[in-house]
């Protein structure tokens, strides 16, 4: 079945460690890729997005993601995490659903805990 997969359900890091969260999708055709973040007690908000062009895209708060078309992957990275990065991170893929409508499908999320 077509899906968005986030293989890491819970990641625990110490401050200043590097972060990489995996995201793989199985949709063909033209897709638009997003990472959303939900900080404790807050709404889901956009972290970064990729449509076309340079496969390395930069987002807010020092996050970046790399699109690798051949691997159907869109991994999220940050060179040095901070305690304030503790949150749940969702990968999402915008693709065609039934008919001509486009739909945003989310992965199951990765809970990141950064220890001070």
């Amino acid at each position: 079945a077509q899906s968005v997969s986030q293989h890491n359900h819970h990641v625990i890091l110490s401050e200043a460690a590097s972060l990489e969260l995996g995201c793989n999708y199985s949709y063909g055709g033209t897709v638009n890729l997003f990472w959303y973040v939900q900080y404790p007690g807050q709404h889901l908000q956009l972290l970064l997005k990729y449509f076309s062009g340079d496969p390395l895209v930069k987002g807010i708060k020092g996050f970046e993601a790399e699109f690798i078309k051949s691997k159907f992957s869109f991994n999220l990275r940050k060179p040095s995490v901070q305690w304030s990065d503790t949150a749940e991170y969702f990968c999402a893929v915008n693709h065609f659903s039934s008919g001509s409508a486009r739909q945003l499908t989310f992965g199951s999320g990765t809970q990141l805990t950064v220890l001070p």
Partner: protein, 115 residues
């Protein structure tokens, strides 16, 4: 700029009862979405409106769920009758348009518990 507003924030009902959720999108946003987020999962699209018309309701359980967006602004999502498996957070989101490149802005959600 005001964000997406939702009410109520929490709701507890017994199975077979009915419940309704309300959403007010960001002003000027033509596209409105309802998502269901079950614990431990990502949000799943239930229905998408473009102004007051339905664009995609392929994942809406139409035997018990209904939604409307009168006048192309506010929207309500109703469940009747509720089942235990409907316990979830119901998220409303809005965007300027339905293009696949539009950022969706999410509300705080309504947490529903069905006993």
């Amino acid at each position: 700029e005001a964000g997406v507003a939702q009410s109520p924030r929490y709701k507890i009902i017994e199975k077979r009862q009915s419940v309704a959720f309300w959403c007010n999108p960001i002003s000027g946003h033509a596209t409105l979405y309802w998502y269901q987020q079950i614990l431990g999962q990502g949000p799943k699209l239930l229905i998408q409106f473009q102004n007051n018309g339905v664009v995609d309701d392929s994942q809406l359980p139409k035997d018990r769920f209904s939604a409307e967006r009168l006048k192309g602004v506010d929207s309500t999502l109703k469940i009747q009758p509720a089942k235990l498996e409907d316990s979830a957070v119901y998220l409303c989101a809005s965007s300027l348009g339905a293009s696949g490149r539009q950022t969706q802005y999410f509300g705080p959600g309504t947490r529903l518990l069905v006993l």
